[in-house]
């Protein structure tokens, strides 16, 4: 048994082997674009944002709203066509959990009210428990001065809200949809010029002083920068779906259960519906997608309710600890809520996406900066991915505004270095914590199960530790 477990553990480590990719710069621009582009030269901008996803658009919006940055000529390049959002009765299967920091950013940008006008669900209680033992940890809004723990918003609604505000501001921001970028030519050094050249598939050429890569995990800007990118696949997929609950309830609780295959989470949408994020091994995920609806619901309820085989030694230790905690007058984790059961799954709402880890060792190069998933990619188990990206937006806007207020160029290395260190100081520890959690919970090895169970119990009992976790997750 032990040997088998060890083998499994080792196998996992090998499968998740680290791959570092380093792509060298193919070509570099030295002062000014060459004459051959001149025919299709479409303009010189202060800032070009490559990628009009949630993070890229909110950066454009934040720049338009900042009185110090609203004079900058900004171009936003988005690969997909302009989309028109129509609120539908059914929910989209892709949702994000937004933390307080993101809420305050979006409120300051006036975006939040557009979300509130349509729909969002606050999370006021969160319960995370382990299938391999009986322990749990809970986070409630009472722990954080009655603020909501998080907000569940659909991706397309969020993007729509940001775009509405972006288009409403009368600003110098140009948006090009259907923008297929062919290549980037980045400056080698910050002096004398940080001009980058962006060449499109249709021959159009743009130049800019500052290029922002907001083009997601497979960022072409990052590849052109030639920075080291540390990444590995989890060999897992996240299965998403919109679920109908068996009973109507207030439904402001986010549930997450750690199965030996990975976490399964139910995020509240409204009183009757929740959104599913079920992380599991790739083959299992593909099977889940193929199952008929009723069998999928059965598998889901199993995953939420089924008793997994437990080790008696872990049980003994955790019950000792919980008795000790109870005697000391601390939360022993016995009082818990029961998760809802699922009645059905919304038709055609099942989908799966691959999960991976990514970390760009540099977020900046002369005249270029990365934000969002282009710079960092995490497992969705903590619901942090997009919040880290919005944190990048907030810090980048503030530092750039400060630089402009001091009379510096938009691509001055000083503020860019500050941006990189401020963000990495926040993002890297968060990424490491998520990675450690993932590793801890995807093994069945007895000592690890014991350690994580006791650790979780203690974390749940000690308020200061809980506050630390929440503070890291909320900013």
């Amino acid at each position: 048994m032990l040997v088998n477990n060890m083998k499994f553990l080792l196998n996992r480590q090998f499968r998740c082997c680290i791959q570092t990719t380093s792509v060298r710069l193919l070509s570099t621009a030295v002062g000014g674009y060459s004459p051959q582009f001149k025919d299709n030269f479409k303009g010189n901008y202060d800032v070009i944002i490559a990628g009009g996803g949630m993070v890229g658009c909110s950066l454009a919006c934040a720049m338009a709203k900042n009185s110090l940055l609203s004079n900058l000529r900004v171009l936003l390049l988005e690969a997909s066509p302009e989309s028109y959002y129509q609120p539908k009765p059914e929910y989209s299967n892709r949702v994000v959990a937004l933390n307080q920091n993101t809420k305050s950013l979006m409120t300051s940008l006036n975006v939040w009210k557009h979300v509130e006008n349509v729909r969002l669900q606050p999370v006021r209680y969160m319960q995370v428990w382990d299938a391999s033992s009986d322990v749990m940890i809970s986070f409630s809004s009472a722990d954080m001065m009655d603020d909501d723990v998080a907000y569940i918003v659909e991706n397309d609604l969020m993007l729509h809200a940001i775009n509405t505000e972006l288009l409403a501001v009368n600003s110098n921001i140009n948006i090009v949809y259907n923008a297929k970028i062919q290549s980037y030519q980045l400056p080698k050094e910050a002096y004398p010029s940080t001009q980058s050249i962006v060449k499109m598939d249709n021959g159009d050429t743009y130049t800019c002083q500052l290029l922002i890569g907001a083009d997601g995990a497979n960022s072409a800007v990052r590849k052109a920068m030639g920075v080291q990118y540390l990444s590995w696949s989890y060999d897992q997929m996240g299965v998403v779906a919109t679920l109908d609950l068996a009973e109507e309830c207030t439904n402001t609780t986010a549930w997450q259960r750690w199965l030996p295959t990975g976490p399964i989470a139910l995020l509240p949408l409204d009183s009757k519906r929740s959104s599913l994020v079920w992380c599991t091994w790739q083959d299992n995920a593909k099977q889940l997608l193929k199952l008929p609806e009723d069998q999928f619901v059965d598998a889901l309820n199993d995953a939420l309710w089924k008793q997994y085989p437990r080790s008696s030694s872990v049980e003994t230790c955790t019950s000792w600890l919980s008795a000790g905690l109870k005697q000391a007058g601390m939360a022993d984790g016995a009082a818990r809520q029961l998760p809802p059961s699922v009645r059905g799954v919304a038709p055609a709402s099942r989908a799966a996406f691959p999960l991976a880890f990514g970390h760009s060792t540099r977020y900046i190069a002369p005249g270029v900066a990365l934000i969002g998933d282009a710079a960092h990619r995490v497992h969705p188990l903590a619901g942090q991915g997009v919040n880290l990206g919005f944190g990048d937006v907030k810090d980048l806007t503030e530092l750039l505004a400060e630089a402009v207020y001091s009379g510096l160029d938009v691509a001055h290395p000083n503020w860019m270095q500050k941006y990189e260190s401020v963000r990495q100081r926040h993002n890297v520890p968060t990424q490491v914590m998520i990675e450690v959690l993932h590793r801890l919970y995807t093994v069945d090895f007895l000592p690890v199960v014991l350690a994580r169970s006791l650790g979780l119990q203690i974390a749940n009992a000690l308020q200061p530790i809980k506050k630390l976790i929440m503070a890291q997750a909320a900013t």
Partner: protein, 284 residues
Amino acid sequence: MWSYKLSRSVLKGTRNNGIMKLVWCSTQPAPATSATRIAHSTIDTSDVELFSKQMKDWWNPDGPMALLHTFNLLRVPFVRDGLVNTSQKDLQPLKDKKILDVGCGGGILSEGLARLGADVTGIDASKDLIALAHEHRNVDPKIANNKPIYINCTVEDHAKTVANHYDAVVASEVIEHVNNQELFVKSCIHALKPGGRIFITTPNRTRMSQLFVIFLSENVFNFIPKGAHQYEKFITPNELTFILERNDCHVELSYGILYNPVARTWDFSQYQHLQYAIQAVKLS
């Protein structure tokens, strides 16, 4: 001032590269063999080329003047926040402020202030540096409508022509090089409007500054040219405060300044034993 000496070493470098045969120095006559010298034109192309080469070095943020460029990141906001204090930030916070940059050298600080909208007048005793500064003011498009004015004179002479004129006088790393410090400060204050502010940065006179600013920077690490500073000429914050207050100024702020050679950044700190900055307001 030491920047002037450094500029000389930069110039020497240029000459040794063999690009320029011309001796660029106002005190020495140029060799008559230079073809360009004989040409009947007011523009000397060799000079222009030399200028541009020198300008490249001077204005390269990673070049020999890197210390002054990074120092701008501290002193430009220092002057800005001393002059304007509003919550409503705008792009040209120093608009319509008349600022005198004493000992402007190649104009690094002058242009930094001009980018914030200020009407800057830069004065320097070195003819070469004023010429260099004057040449570069045309380069940056951001100051195209707001070019600094450069004058080759001393502050005593300048103060004779203007009185109660400037909103601010800035003397960054200058006072430790002048002979009559009281006269220097007096002249600066004379040019200042009542209610205007004077900003001074300079090394302190302590054993620490002797060790770091003179011994280590000049002799060991060669951050600055040898002999740029004399310990006896350094002035302590107390002495400088006395001079200022004796001349009808009120000292509002004084900060210590530290340089971090690893991160290559300047920071304000409590520790005034190495270098410090003083801000004072002219009372009447």
